[in-house]
């Protein structure tokens, strides 16, 4: 057992998996000599050499396209996109090629590729570095999309992703990379996809979130608790596949839920969860399922992030209005 941050847990997963299976390799911009822009691949080049740790040019489509080719050729690539929003440059490769290859080859080729990318706001990054585009990826059939929010899940889900025979988009919460540590087993373990995690218990309502918003929701729940409102917090952590039964089970007791997402409101993944809940849990709902999201505007400059992203106050206000509805 070691006390690790999320970025250390990711590095530990990459290291152990590359040692365990020589087909596993990493590629991306600055993953080699620099050790990754967030140091997630630090030390891998020295250990495994240029053949398995490959610095790529600033060309996201080439990173994803190469990964697919390597996978078809028998390697297990773990590609890094420096920031999730940069994946737009690779969208054809991700959605049309990577996501469809098994289907298109009638099952002959599995695209065993993991694409890692940091995501999310509150770090006052420049433009394009914070956009939460997870819904756009979840909308591409053939791609699995997971977003852990703890060091334990980061390691266990990354190992699960690398071993998954299908392509997995592994979204990392950049705000939480180094914000806290927790016990992570040194041993090999995996966290299966498609299971929600109950981050906090509470009887009055449920806050549903993924990635860094989970941590925000836990803080909101603690604040609500001082007012006598007990909010459960559910970490979705796997958008595709989605744990529909887990979500329904979490919402059923109180019949009240707020979905919190960092992405802009319209067509965010929160809408998918709300739609799923009304389909699967309509007769258990006691109030409208609310959403707290960023506004439908471009992500503003860093200084204005606090007005744009879901704030503690907005989550608390929404939850309170729902609890007393």
């Amino acid at each position: 057992m070691s006390e690790l941050t999320i970025v250390e847990a990711i590095r530990s997963a990459l290291l152990s998996e590359m040692e365990r299976d020589e087909r596993v390799m990493v590629l991306g911009m600055d993953v080699g000599r620099l050790g990754g822009v967030f140091r997630a691949t630090h030390g891998l080049l020295d250990r495994f050499g240029h053949e398995r740790v490959v610095d790529m040019p600033l060309a996201e489509a080439a990173i994803i396209g190469s990964s697919l080719g390597l996978a078809i050729g028998g390697m297990i690539p773990v590609a890094e996109i420096q920031f999730l929003a940069f994946a737009h440059q690779a969208f054809h490769q991700l959605g049309r090629q990577l996501g469809r290859y098994r289907y298109r080859s009638v099952g002959r080729f599995h695209a065993q590729v993991t694409v890692r990318a940091p995501c999310g706001g509150y770090v006052r990054n420049p433009e394009f570095h914070s956009d939460s585009i997870e819904a756009e990826l979840a909308h591409q059939p053939g791609l699995k999309v997971v977003c852990p929010s703890t060091p334990f899940d980061a390691k266990g889900m990354l190992l699960e992703a690398i071993r998954d025979p299908d392509p997995v988009i592994f979204i990392e919460p950049q705000r939480l990379y180094r914000s806290f540590r927790m016990d992570v087993p040194d041993d090999d373990y995996t966290v299966p996809f498609g299971k929600v995690r109950l981050a906090r218990e509470g009887d009055d309502l449920v806050l549903i979130a993924w990635s860094a918003a989970v941590e925000l929701c836990v803080r909101a729940a603690e604040q609500l608790s001082t007012e006598g409102i007990e909010a459960a917090v559910v970490d979705v952590r796997s958008l595709v596949p989605l744990d529909v039964a887990g979500l329904v089970a979490a919402v059923r007791p109180s019949g009240k839920a707020v979905v919190v997402q960092e992405a802009p409101l319209t067509c965010g993944f929160g809408a998918e969860i709300v739609a799923t809940l009304q389909e699967e849990a309509f007769y258990d709902l006691d109030a409208p399922v609310l959403r707290v999201a960023s506004w439908d505007t471009p992500q503003p400059a860093g200084a204005l992030e606090g007005w744009y992203l879901p704030s503690l106050r907005r989550i608390v206000d929404s939850a309170r209005s729902l609890a007393t509805d």
Binding site: S254, G255, Y283, D284, L285, D286, D296, R314, D317
Partner: protein, 392 residues
């Protein structure tokens, strides 16, 4: 919910601001970011935006007055849905509902589904949601109550064309709940003894006229029975007690509840420390409570705190009653009608004024022996009364 509007810090070194002008008045609807007021500091003049959409409830600082940074300067009541949970879209009409509107008839899918499966009528559930709405939690609570006391659930009755449905008054509803609870939770047992009231009748006849003249109301048999009950409670203190899971709580003080019938139901006001009162004193207390009961002038204090109850159904002409124990007490004593009856005494048959004393007891607290001792003590006190017994 009220939200405080705070005096903002308009510069690093600025400690207070002066309200130069309010742009809204109490009662005004404001939208988030709408300017509320203008503030002057020694550095800048600025407009302060509203932190939320809602209704201005109070302006706490007059125009021209200064307030410290961070001080509350106005109160705004939020709309029922926080504005920021619903980002505005172009052309989307504002459909927010007022926070004060009644929503007692509004039923959510969860509540409707629970009403269907549990058979609970949502109209009978007290809503704790906004606007009095019945929430899922209210239904869960109601269902749990129902499950706890299944005997209390009344059978559904259909109202036919020849029937009249009389709505339950508050008193009727309270009595119904109390009686159902008593019979569902207290294992009742019952005893009776027959009392020769000749001495009591003689005593009352002796004092009747002078008492009415002095006190302004008539002397009845009830104060004598109250005094007898006090004697019985002093002789068998466990009758003056309450059952609890932790044990039997024996009350040292004797507060006698007296059942008083009214057209719309029965009330049980309490004579406090009844063991400190003479027969006349009991009569006065009783007269006070009875007249105030008829005038509907009893207070909540009059109706609570009884440790034992005496019931007088004899005044309605009954000979035997099986009274229901007031929950929280260990028994109820009922005096029946005083009736002249042929009685065998010492080999002779005589006509004596006789009365049955009936005693319903909580069998968890009392057994037959203690109950009989109590009844015997009451009877002995009544039969020992004669013309010489002082009433003052």
């Amino acid at each position: 919910m009220l939200t405080n509007v705070l005096m903002p810090r308009l510069g690093e070194s600025v400690g207070e601001g002066t309200v130069s002008k309010w742009l809204v008045r109490p009662g005004d609807q404001v939208r988030e970011f709408q300017p509320l007021l203008e503030v002057d500091t020694d550095k800048v003049n600025a407009q302060v935006p509203s932190p939320l959409s809602g209704t201005v409830r109070e302006l706490l600082v007059e125009a021209g007055a200064a307030a410290a940074v961070g001080a509350v300067i106005a109160l705004i009541e939020a709309d029922i849905k926080p504005a920021d949970a619903q980002p505005s879209s172009i052309g989307q009409p504002d459909v927010r509902t007022s926070g004060t509107a009644s929503r007692t008839k509004l039923v959510s899918p969860a509540v409707a589904a629970m009403a269907e499966t549990s058979g609970i009528d949502t109209g009978q559930v007290r809503g704790t949601g906004s606007g009095g709405r019945v929430t899922k939690r209210d239904m869960v609570t109601a269902a749990a109550k129902l499950a706890e006391a299944p005997k209390q659930a009344s059978l559904p009755v259909t109202v036919g064309p020849d029937d009249e449905l009389v709505a339950l008054t508050r008193t009727r509803r309270l009595i119904a709940d109390n009686m159902a609870r008593a019979k569902a939770t207290v294992p009742h047992a019952w005893q009776t003894q027959e009392v020769d009231m000749a001495g009591v009748v003689a005593n009352r006849n002796l004092h009747k006229a002078s008492f009415a003249q002095q006190e302004g109301f008539g002397l009845t048999y009830l104060p004598y029975v109250l005094a007898a009950a006090v004697a019985g409670l002093r002789a068998v203190p466990t009758v003056n007690s309450s059952f609890s899971d932790a044990g039997i709580v024996v009350h040292r003080r004797i507060h006698l509840g007296v059942a008083i019938g009214r057209e719309d139901g029965v009330l049980v006001p309490v004579i406090r420390d009844a063991d400190g009162l003479s027969i006349a004193g009991l009569a006065r207390s009783l007269n006070d409570l009875t007249s105030r009961a008829q005038a509907r002038a009893l207070t909540a204090d009059d109706l609570t705190g009884g440790t034992f109850t005496v019931n007088n159904s004899g005044s309605f002409g009954t000979l035997l009653s099986y009274s229901v124990i007031n929950p929280g007490q260990a028994g109820i004593l009922t005096m029946e009608a005083v009736v002249d009856r042929p009685v065998a005494r010492g080999g002779l048959i005589g006509i004596r004024p006789m009365m049955y004393l009936c005693f319903s007891l909580d069998h968890r607290v009392l057994d037959g022996l203690a109950a009989a001792r109590f009844l015997s003590s009451c009877r002995s006190w009544l039969e020992a009364t004669n013309e010489a017994t002082p009433i003052f």
